[in-house]
Symmetry: C2
Subunit: 685 residues, 2 copies
């Protein structure tokens, strides 16, 4: 699995687990807040003392890829370790038709050769502060949803702006437990990030789409970046040292990363909406794009290269969604959910506060969401997104910062402009293919007779209109984007760029849909906050909130599992990769790269390669460091097995496993396959 | 394009062209009935005399593949020429994990080596008789739709049964002009059909999915079968001889084949239903299955082989539907349709007979169809289809033949049992994968809380339920099918086979949906019959009905076309195939088979390979013979270019082209690549 967090997926903020009718049934369940770790449980169950020093060091050594993923510092000179598939977006952007670093790998033999990423932002979490009271003071209980939303948004914006002004740190107020708590997260930001080393995709993604979410595995799904400050490698105080020995069965390990989103508090009505409406809808969209990119790639090797990162990301999501849907479609799973809910509702009914209303509100929101699935306020194209950002930025900048749409506030301007002016390549033919398909989908969704559709198509077929728009736009040129951004509203309104005109045409509909979505999210937020209160009352407050793409700690032993009557061992070895290659007749996607074949004899084939543990993870955890009791690095999360996919809404430790690359395999390969002695020397120092 | 006619697509019977407001605008438009050829037009425009002898010889030399496709007799000893992709279903069924005839080709060096197809039925049309009056006598104008349908169905069944009894020939009453006319088609049936020769898939489908519907092309998309009677090659009086020379530009050619379905009479409301509802729905389904088969194939070469025929068929349909949808989504195309319709409606309004009501009825039917798209009365699995057939046959056999569902009448029993008892392989893992996906879709369509869904799943996830059903069924064994078929209703009702139980559980819903669909089809039939009358009144009766998978004649000159400012020549040569292979670095799908590389020097590289003409064709025409004025065979239709896909609802001769294999290329390859001298000697004799 590529565990990158799909940042474009509409955000449903949710809260802790609700499955069990009383307390946790699954021992190692949990994506814990670093400021509220289950110290007692760890002490009791594993005789492990999670000291504040241990936790703070791990927190500060953890890194978030804002493009979606997790990572860690692994040297005092800014070396960052993550998954190859988390770095793939950047590796692809740095590749050209002549130098395919994605396929062939990359190694900077010296600092000078390290390659600057066009638009990466890395975050290091440095502090967490509870600001619940300050946020809640702004909202009165009798406010209608839209007013409450505006008030809360303004309060959060003020807290963020004040924190940024005071500390200079990126400051995000995070909604936890679906609105029961608000915490201020402060991050040190790194925007000068350079690629140091990446292996060939054939070993990073050994087994390809076929083996994705499967186990046993043999993937070197890692790569190295370095963060710079003032043009020099950044000095890093908190970084992870590499554990000296191999892992043993049942050894306790910890995962520190940024799980993207879970839905464990979801009511059965919300899960049924996912099961019967949203997931089938998303799967249709994913399959559509998978075929689109496959077809584009048929036109030749270079086009295949252009589309590969998008294609792999989509295949990954498709497989993940299918796994989640299978779980939700299992009547036994839903029956268990409903039974737990009934137990909880019975307790609420006995109470006089009318908490049961929260479940009803959520059910109503699902009904309102159904028709919204077929509506879209934009198009699937990088250049169109740029036009959309330019238009909205110019419009939003007419308001005070706190009143703007979240991403257009002053506090986010630096990150926004980094994306907007990114020199990352946008391939014209690929942009046109995506836009044509997206226009066609727009017609399907609204019907060909819809007035907005007719305005958008301007009398042409989707393919002809996409060709016309792409031929006319100048947004591929960065100076052109800067000119429009600096020119403000006047420049936008006078622009004759056809994509800017299209974004202006779409603006009202886009805002309408967004307001509608945010209103529903606010109703859900209030309802889930009520449900969280009920859970706190019934289960106690020692619980964890649903994932929010912020730093969490998960843990569990290294442990194999049983599948279809067969016992699966907890780890594989480098030797196993060669055996798998041979068993497949060295045929793709099980063909090891030449670099590995040539250096086979030098490798210690008994080295642990991939391993599984029971830690509770989900998409977004990709690249998370795995550490031992001593806080030493033992591995890097890169996948979950197929049984773990239902972790979105229910955790089970019987078969669910997190899959990691063992750091010893990386070190062995760096040394003997990639001859990267300078990195071997630097790691952990 | 694979032009096989997708027989499972719900049938919307429709009628002649309605695009032009007055008469034909496109000179060579038309899929003409053999008993109503445009003799005057051919004489006037091409100075060609379509004599009754010429037409009857061509009609009797034409062959229909009931599996979906067209063909021709090419020797007095029963040799049948069709497309490789029409024969692919049978070639795949004859292949095993050890002998992959689909991939590697097949040649029977002697008669004894010819391989019996497991379940092919070939039809030779021998006569057409107008029975409109006999059918219409059964229906009174004041009957409600359901009663009219039953009365018409009974009348048609009686005519068919009487004809079968009298002549021994397969007898089908065909609804033409959407119900304005009914013709009785009598066919000689061949059920002992044997595979004689097939080339490698790499040359039959050179360029693969990438080149499908594209031109220029280099495909040897042909194969040879032989029909037998009493265990010996059938004696064929009417067969096609091979034309001696090459084709020249602008030479008039004729296509005799079985176009599957067109929608040229469709009202704008009906086309908008296709554009906004049905085609997007079908495309989602096709993409879903494409990914399903791709994923299945990832599990290894043997699984890839098992799924390849299904996969290629689906990719072909997906590309065809996308092309059609692009046409319908073009506002200019729809505006043209609507303008023509308005002109026609204006003429109707002036008339007192109330014909405009027909357009309104059709619009109402479309509204009723919308919710039906998300309903399904069965599952996507060969074994389940067998269970369904066994159940319905037992139930229907309780009624007199004329009252049964069409396919269960006595007159069709032989064809039905051939399919039901076919020894063609059904791969258990593939069946399970298809069934699991289909069960999952059933949940999506009806929602997981639907009572029928809950009964179908029996408390298990779709994947687990599919595994259970497949583990329990014995329908893979043909004696078991025979036992159940012979045991009649009692055997079915007592059967504990889980797939039979499932089909019994689904029966009511299946019948309900079918009745609903047939009622709507009847309303449409009556409305289109009215519209056809309007058209006859305005444009005269010298027109052709929409395609009905029955024999039609199309024609037009061999002619290149312009595409994106580039002139495309009318034909390619064998030499061009080698050039294309070289340009692609001999990479799949442009890698010529070794047999071709080894024999390159022996081939006459100037031989015409593929060519285009303006004839009006559509899916189902695959394998159609192309003949010259002398009635000599010049080629075999195998594709249409991408511009021809909108022929479903509008014909244009500017860019639309039918693509054929030139028969000279086949003869040259048979002789010099496949060393099949016995076939070269036999062809045309």
């Amino acid at each position: 699995m590529k565990m990158k967090f799909a940042t474009r997926v509409a955000c449903l903020l949710v809260v802790g687990h609700v499955l069990s009718s009383a307390g946790r049934t699954n021992a190692d369940e949990g994506m814990w807040l670093f400021n509220d770790l289950p110290r007692d449980y760890l002490k009791r169950t594993y005789d492990f003392e999670a000291t504040p020093q241990w936790a703070e060091h791990l927190m500060r050594a953890s890194v978030r890829f804002n493009s979606g993923g997790s990572a860690s510092f692994v040297s005092s000179r800014g070396l960052v370790l993550t998954n190859h598939h988390v770095g793939a977006d950047t590796i692809s952007k740095l590749s050209t038709s002549e130098r395919n670093y994605y396929r062939d790998g990359f190694y900077a033999a010296t600092l000078d050769e390290e390659l600057a990423a066009p638009d990466l932002e890395l975050n290091q979490l440095v502090s967490i502060e509870d600001v619940t009271d300050r946020v809640n003071q702004a909202v009165r209980a009798d406010m209608p949803a839209s007013e409450a939303l505006a008030a809360r948004r303004a309060a959060m914006a003020q807290i963020e702006a004040a924190s940024l002004a005071e500390t200079g740190l990126r400051s995000d107020v995070v909604t936890l437990y679906g609105g029961a708590k608000y915490h201020l997260y402060r991050y040190k930001k790194y925007t000068d990030v350079r690629l140091v080393w990446a292996p060939e995709s054939d070993i990073a993604f050994f087994g390809g789409d076929a083996d994705n979410f499967e186990y046993p595995r043999y993937c070197l799904d890692v790569c190295l970046f370095r963060v710079y400050e003032d043009g020099k490698p950044a000095q890093i105080a908190d970084f992870l040292s590499i554990a000296p020995g191999p892992l043993v069965d049942e050894e306790l390990v910890f995962v520190s990363g940024n799980p993207g989103r879970t839905r464990r508090i979801h009511t059965s009505a919300a899960l049924k909406f996912q099961r019967d409406e949203r997931m089938p809808h998303v799967l249709n969209l994913l399959r559509r794009r998978e075929i689109l990119f496959q077809q584009y790639g048929l036109e030749g090797d270079e086009k295949q290269r252009q589309a590969q990162d998008d294609l792999f990301g989509i295949q990954n999501s498709r497989k993940a969604y299918l796994g989640m849907l299978q779980g939700l479609q299992d009547p036994a799973v839903m029956a268990q959910k409903e039974a737990a809910e009934q137990t909880l509702l019975a307790k609420v009914a006995a109470d006089a506060s009318g908490g049961a209303d929260a479940w009803k509100k959520i059910a109503e929101v699902q009904e309102r969401r159904k028709p919204m699935l077929k509506q879209s306020g934009g198009f699937y194209s990088g250049l169109y997104s740029i036009a959309e950002t330019l238009v909205l930025m110019a419009k939003e900048d007419q308001k005070p910062s706190a009143d703007r749409l979240r991403e257009y506030r002053d506090s986010n301007r630096e990150s926004l402009l980094q994306q907007l002016f990114s020199p990352a390549p946008l391939y014209p033919d690929l942009e046109e293919a995506k836009l044509a398909d997206s226009l066609s989908m727009f017609v399907e969704q609204r019907g060909g007779d819809d007035p907005l559709v007719q305005q958008v198509l301007a009398g042409k077929s989707p393919a002809a209109r996409a060709a016309e728009l792409m031929a006319g736009t100048k947004l591929a040129e960065i100076p052109q984007r800067k000119r429009l951004a600096e020119g403000g509203l006047a420049a936008i309104e006078q622009s004759e760029d056809p994509l800017v005109r299209l974004a202006l045409l779409m603006e009202n509909e886009q805002r309408r849909l967004r307001e509608q979505e945010e209103e529903l999210a606010e109703i859900e937020r209030q309802a889930y906050a009520r449900i969280a209160d009920v859970l706190f009352a019934v289960q106690g407050t020692s619980t964890y909130p649903d994932a929010t793409f912020t730093l969490r700690l998960a843990f569990g032993p290294v442990r194999g599992y049983e599948e279809r009557g067969r016992q699966i061992a907890a780890w594989t070895t480098l030797g196993g990769a060669f055996e798998r290659d041979e068993a497949a007749g060295s045929k793709s996607p099980w063909r090891l790269p030449d670099s590995w074949r040539e250096n086979r004899d030098r490798l210690d084939l008994a080295t642990q390669f991939n391993f599984v543990c029971t830690a509770d993870i989900i998409g977004g955890n990709s690249g998370s460091p795995v550490v031992n009791r001593a806080g030493e690095l033992v591995g890097v999360i890169f996948d979950g097995n197929i049984q773990s996919l239902s972790a979105d809404f229910v955790y089970s430790e019987t078969q669910s496993r997190a899959v990691s690359v063992h750091v010893a395999a990386m070190r062995e390969a760096l040394k003997k396959v990639y001859h990267a002695q300078r990195l071997v020397d630097e790691l952990g120092q």
